[in-house]
Symmetry: C2
Subunit: 343 residues, 2 copies
DNA sequence: ACGATGTATGTAAAGGTTTACATAAGGCTT
DNA sequence: AAGCCTTATGTAAACCTTTACATACATCGT
C-alpha cells in the first residue's frame, strides 16, 4: 500500500496485466480503452495508490501544470483575495500555482523567466501593469499570459479587471448627488492605465454635470498613503480648496484622511472622501471609507479561467474582461458643509 | 539566440565541443572540470541562452526545487507578509514556492499530497497547527516540513514562530501595570497550541501578580471576529464583568471592540482591550489596537531557511525557533475607569 | 623506466511518461 | 467467405538530465 517508493505506471500495468501504454490511455483518454480494461486499470491504481509523476509527464509533454503568478508585492492587501480566486480555479483544473514578486525590480522579474525556459510553468498571471522582464526578452516568445487589474503595456495580453472608468464615475456621481461641486481628484497618473481610466471617469462625471474641469484640484500621486497625505498639504497651500476628495485608490484616501485629520478636520462633516478598491482596511478606518469594490475573488477566478482557455485553445477569446465595480457606501461622504462650500 | 525551441544541454555540448556530461559537470560541479573547458562551456551557454530544464533535472534527481506552502486560508491577513519572507529566502537559494489552501477541509489538504508523490515539491511549509492530510497517510513518509506560527500536532515537525507564552505575558503585564485586576481572557482553546500557550502566559502573569484565577471571565473562542463579539454578549449575561479584555488574537479583539461599541461603551475609557498578532488592520481600527507583534517577514525567512537546511542535511538542527514577540502600544489600553473597577 | 595514483573527460543507462506506429482481432459489407 | 474497416492493445522511441563506470592521459615515487 504505502511502500517506500511511489508506484509507477509500470507497477499499475503489471497488476492490471496490461501494457503501460494502456494504463496511460486509461487515465488520459478513457474513451479509447475498453470498459473491462479500464476497470482493471482503475483497480490497480487504487491498489497501488498510483499518481502520475508530474515531472515525467511535463518533461514528455513539454509543458507543466503550473501557473506562475507575479505581483510587484505579495504583501499588498489587494493581492491575497485575488489569490484565492486564482488558486481555486487553477486547482479545479489540475493546475498548481507558483508565486513570485518583483518589488518593481526589473532584474528580479527577469529571474522568473527561467520558469518558462525550463518548462516549469505553462502560463503567467501578471499583477503589474508592465511586463516585468527586460525589453530584449519582451520580444522573445512569451508564455500565455493574462493581466489582472490593469491592462499590460505593450500588451497583446488580455486582462481581467473592473471597469475603472465606470467605477470612478459611480464615485463622482455620488459626490455630485450629495451636492459637491468642487471635487478634487487625488492620484492622477499617466503611468498606470487603471489610474488614467479612473481619471477619465472623474472627467466624464464632472462634464455630465456641467462642471468645468479645474486642474488646480487635480493632483498627481502614486497611490501610496504618503501621496495622499502630501496632496492634502499641497492643496492647503493653494488658493482653492475642494469640498470632497475623490481618490484614485483606498491607500491614497487613507492618506488624505490622515492629512485632514492632522489638521483637525472631521470627515465627513468638513470634507467628503472616496476611495477605490475596497481594501480590507477600508471598513476599519474611521470613518469607514466609502469606496468602489473590486470583486477580487471573482477577478482571480476569471483571470485564471481565461488563462486556462488560452492554454488549450491558443487564441484568447476576449482581450479584456471587465467586471462591474460596485459602489460601497460607508461613512466618509456627506453633503458639503456650509462653511466650506462657501470658499 | 532566441530560437523557437529552447536550447538543450546537447546544443551547448556541440558548440563547446565537449560531451553533455562535461556540460552538466561544468554547471553543477565546476571544480571537477578544467578551467579551459569550463570557459568554453560558459561561452556556449551564453551563446545559446541555455537554462537547464528543471523538469528533466527533477525527474532524474527525484526531487524538485519547489516548496509547497499550505495555509488554511490564503486570504488571511497574517499570511501575505509571511509569504514575502518565505519567497525571498527560497528564491535566494534557487527554490520556487507553490501555494495551496485547505479551507480547513481535510479532503482538500489530501489533494496537495500529490505534489509530493510526483516529486513536484521537495518540502512543505505548514501554516496550520494540524497536518492537513488524512490520518492513514499521516503515518506515510512525509516530506521535510516546517510549521509556521504554531507547533504541528503529532509533529516531529519543527516550527518557527513567536514565543506565545512570553507574548501573552507582555500583554497581561501591561494591563496589570495599568492597574487592571479583573482581566478577561477571550479565545481560550485547547485545539490550537498557540492559543493554549497564550493562555499559559495569561495564567502566569496573573499568578505572578497574586491574582487568583477566575474562570468566569475566561471564555472560549475560535479566533474569529464573531467569537469576540459573542464572548462580550456572554459576559454581559454573567454577574462578573472585567475591566480589561485580553484577546487571543487581533480578530477576536476586533470582535470584542465591536461588541462593546454596540453597547455604547468607549474604549479605552470604559474597557481596555489587547490583541495578538498585529494584523495590518490593527493600526486602522479605532481606537488603534494595542497588541503583540509577530515579526512576520522574519518568521517566514527563518522557516524557509530551516526547511532548506532540512532538505540538505536531512536532520533538523532545531525543533523550535521562537522569535521575540514585541508589545506594540497603541490606544486601546488605559487605567480602569472608576465606575467599572467598582463592580 | 615502470607501476601507481590522480585528474579530466566520455559513454551509456536510468528516471517515468506519452504517443506514433505496428499489430491483432472482431464485425461488417458484398 | 474474403476483404476491409474499426477498435483495442502493445512496442519502442523520445523528452532532457545526472552520474556510475570506463577510458585516457599526465604525474609522481621509486
Amino acid at each position: 500500500m504505502s511502500n517506500s517508493t511511489p508506484a509507477t505506471i509500470e507497477d499499475v500495468a503489471r497488476i492490471a496485466e496490461v501494457s503501460i501504454a494502456t494504463v496511460s490511455r486509461a487515465i488520459h483518454m478513457p474513451e479509447k480503452v475498453a470498459n473491462s480494461t479500464r476497470l482493471k486499470v482503475n483497480q490497480a491504481i487504487a491498489i497501488t495508490g498510483y499518481t502520475t509523476n508530474a515531472m515525467a509527464r511535463s518533461l514528455r509533454l513539454g509543458r507543466s501544470n503550473m501557473i506562475l503568478v507575479v505581483a510587484p508585492d505579495i504583501g499588498d492587501p489587494n493581492f491575497s483575495n485575488i489569490l484565492v480566486g486564482l488558486e481555486n480555479e487553477a486547482r479545479a483544473h489540475g493546475y498548481g500555482i507558483l508565486i513570485g514578486h518583483t518589488q518593481n525590480d526589473a532584474q528580479r522579474g527577469l529571474e522568473y523567466l527561467k520558469f518558462f525556459n525550463s518548462n516549469q510553468a505553462a502560463g503567467l498571471i501578471l499583477f503589474t501593469g508592465i511586463l516585468p522582464f527586460g525589453h530584449q526578452t519582451m520580444t522573445a516568445r512569451l508564455p500565455p499570459s493574462v493581466g489582472v487589474f490593469e491592462p499590460v503595456f505593450n500588451g497583446g495580453i488580455p486582462y481581467v479587471g473592473v471597469d475603472d472608468t465606470e467605477g470612478a464615475r459611480k464615485a463622482v456621481d455620488l459626490l455630485l448627488a450629495e451636492g459637491h461641486r468642487k471635487i478634487a481628484f487625488i492620484g492622477d497618473s499617466r503611468t498606470r492605465l487603471a489610474y488614467t481610466r479612473r481619471r477619465m471617469g472623474y472627467d466624464a462625471g464632472l462634464d455630465a454635470a456641467g462642471i468645468p474641469p479645474d486642474t488646480r484640484i487635480v493632483l498627481e500621486g502614486d497611490g501610496t498613503i504618503e501621496s495622499g497625505r502630501h496632496a492634502v498639504e499641497q492643496l492647503f497651500m493653494r488658493d482653492t480648496l475642494p469640498t470632497a476628495f475623490m481618490c484614485v485608490n483606498d491607500q491614497t484616501a487613507i492618506g488624505v484622511m490622515v492629512g485632514l485629520g492632522a489638521r483637525g478636520y472631521d470627515i465627513p462633516r468638513d470634507f467628503s472622501v472616496t476611495g477605490f478598491d475596497d481594501v480590507p482596511q477600508a471598513v476599519f478606518i474611521s470613518p469607514p471609507l466609502t469606496t468602489i469594490r473590486q470583486p477580487r475573488t471573482a477577478i482571480g477566478k476569471q483571470a485564471m479561467a481565461l488563462l486556462l482557455e488560452l492554454l488549450s485553445d491558443g487564441r484568447p477569446t476576449e482581450t479584456e474582461i471587465l467586471l462591474r465595480p460596485d459602489l460601497v457606501v460607508r461613512n466618509s461622504v456627506s453633503a458639503p458643509s456650509r462653511n466650506w462650500s462657501k470658499r
